[in-house]
């Protein structure tokens, strides 16, 4: 059995006429980085909420480490394993001081003072915010606030980090800060990541991509596999990452470029061509 397993999950919001999710199945292994993309209203945020039991599926089953999100008696256990970072950093910080906010989760699970202190040290170091320990969140930038929010979740030591469009409200710099931290956590700490996003550039960091459209999983594969099917993506109102798009336009203009995927590849390829000239 996979670490995260969703089997034929349906969800309908109370009083809604349509299912937000209709029969979604997927699996995520430990240490994997899955990106979930889809246009607005595709059900991707609902999926994030189902994972830690903020919502329970109306049909089907979703389980993390064998704990079903429908099992209300094990909700606390589930939430210790699944850390969710939400969209708006302002609405998920609880305390007026960074370290107190990071302490909130460990306090909730009833840890001792020394252990909480250790976890604050670890979590703030993991997101590179050690110097801001005593700072007030209201004086931090959006990217910094969101990193504190990630630290607050990490302090619970979850097995899975779920990002529910956590970069949507940030400026490009803040977005970079957050995606770098997430990438580092996945690569270096082996954190399992499930990132819900609509920024195609962030998808490139993932091992695998799940495309949702109108509540159904319509595509699945590595980022390269997904982005090579441009026409199909456009059908689901999604686009390819900007570097790919630039490379395509250059090719149309007659430049002999190879298949491009990330901005690093684009840079290298352009340099190679320049050297030839």
């Amino acid at each position: 059995m996979s670490f995260i397993e969703a089997k034929n999950v349906y969800y309908r919001y109370p009083q809604a006429e349509k299912d937000a999710l209709c029969g979604v199945s997927f699996a995520v292994e430990k240490g994997e980085y899955l990106a979930v993309i889809g246009h607005n209203g595709s059900g991707k945020s609902t999926l994030a909420r189902l994972l830690n039991g903020l919502l329970q599926p109306t049909e089907g089953e979703i389980a993390v480490d064998g704990i079903s999100s429908a099992d209300k008696s094990r909700l606390f256990e589930l939430r210790r394993r699944v850390g969710v970072v939400f969209q708006n950093p302002d609405n998920q910080l609880i305390a007026s001081v960074v370290e107190d906010d990071v302490a909130f989760g460990p306090e909730n699970i009833g840890l001792k003072r020394e252990e909480i202190k250790e976890r604050i040290d670890f979590a703030l170091a993991a997101v590179g915010m050690e110097e801001y320990r005593k700072a007030m969140p209201s004086r931090l930038s959006g990217g910094q606030k969101q990193r504190v929010a990630i630290a607050g979740v990490l302090a619970i030591r979850p097995d899975v980090l779920v990002l529910d469009e956590s970069t949507a409200m940030l400026d490009p710099r803040g977005r970079r800060e957050v995606t770098d931290v997430v990438k580092k956590l996945n690569r270096e700490n082996g954190m399992t990541v499930l990132a819900v996003t609509h920024y195609m550039d962030e998808v490139c960091d993932a091992d695998r991509v799940l495309v949702l459209s109108d509540g159904a999983a319509v595509m699945e594969g590595t980022p390269r596999e997904i982005f090579s099917q441009k026409e199909k993506l456009q059908k689901y109102e999604l686009d390819v990452p900007v570097p790919m798009r630039i490379a395509e336009l250059l090719k149309e203009g007659g430049m002999p470029l190879k298949e491009i995927f990330t901005k690093e590849e684009l840079g290298e390829e352009l340099c190679r061509l320049l050297r030839k000239i």
Binding site: R49, N52, L54, F76, R79, R80, G83, V84, F86, N88, D90, N91, Q92, L93, I94, A95, S96, V97, E99, D100, A103, F104, G105, P106, E107, N108, I109, G110, L111, K112, R113, I116, K117, I120, M136, P137, S138, R139, A149, G152, V153, I156
Partner: protein, 272 residues
């Protein structure tokens, strides 16, 4: 707006700043009691209290002017109550009279007495807010109110509500400013017209603010749930307050003030 700090906290590190907030709260209450203990017209008691504040402000490394400025907010109240005393007190020797108004020596003394009493109380409590952050005060109150758990008072919830409210003040101020600008851009006018018109102009600010607060509360609730919040049960506290020698010194100092006031009450009164 970003740099707005709630209250009047004066951010330096000092003897008083590093005292236990709980002790500071209790000492503030003791101080108010001390000022009320000063018997009528025993003005030397006020001198003692003034001296106390002077020394405390020095120990707190807060400029004395800051302490004095704290009475700005209640100057109207002070003037109002002294004027009432002067105009409508009929005890004592009449110094001047006109229609129903008699100005007496006792009236004047009472006005002076009340003015000094209020001023000194406000200056003393200002020292608490100047040296203690709102968060520390909230934590201190939570700890002090803990015994109320026995009568089923939700101390933890109360403290959490207070600290969340404090945390959201800057956020909501930012938001208010954004809404005001957005409404101005749509031609809203907040600066002209009479009082009623101006109050009505606030409605398009307050309604969006209220709605967004509800949305924020909803999201915050989800975020708290996601971080394993399940009420006070089984919860530990990271911050621990511990009284130190500083608090002992502060308490002794306060005891000296109370003793001084009581002693001065026995002598040196202005006899009427």
């Amino acid at each position: 707006m970003k740099d707005v700090s709630f209250g009047q906290y004066y951010p330096v590190s000092s003897f008083v700043h590093r005292m236990d907030p709980r002790v500071k709260i209790l000492l503030s209450i003791a101080y108010i009691v001390a000022v009320f203990l000063i018997r009528e017209f025993h003005f030397f008691g006020f001198l003692a209290a003034f001296l106390f504040i002077l020394i405390a402000a020095f120990a707190a490394r807060v400029p004395f002017l800051k302490v004095v400025k704290s009475i700005k907010g209640i100057i109207f109240f002070i003037v109002f109550s002294s004027v009432l005393q002067i105009l409508f007190n009929h005890e004592g020797t009449v110094l001047a009279a006109w229609w129903v108004i008699e100005i007496t020596d006792v009236g004047l003394l009472r006005a002076a007495f009340i003015t000094l009493r209020i001023t000194l109380i406000v200056m003393g409590t200002a020292l608490l807010t100047l040296t203690t952050t709102p968060v520390e005060i909230a934590d201190g109150l939570e700890s002090l109110l803990t015994p109320l758990k026995w009568v089923k008072f939700p101390v933890h919830e109360f403290a959490l509500i207070m600290s969340i409210a404090l945390r959201f003040i800057p956020t909501l101020m930012d938001e208010t400013e954004r809404i005001i600008n957005a409404q101005k851009a749509r031609g809203a006018d907040f600066e002209s017209g009479n009082v009623f018109k101006r109050i009505r102009a606030l409605v398009p600010i307050l309604i969006p603010l209220l709605l967004s607060s509800f949305r924020r509360a909803d999201e915050l609730g989800d975020a708290m749930d996601a971080r394993c919040y399940s009420g006070a049960k089984g919860r530990t506290k990271y911050k621990k307050m511990r009284p130190t020698w500083r608090d002992l010194v502060g308490t002794l100092f306060m005891a000296a003030l109370i003793a001084g006031v009581v002693l001065l009450n026995g002598v040196l009164g202005v006899a009427v």
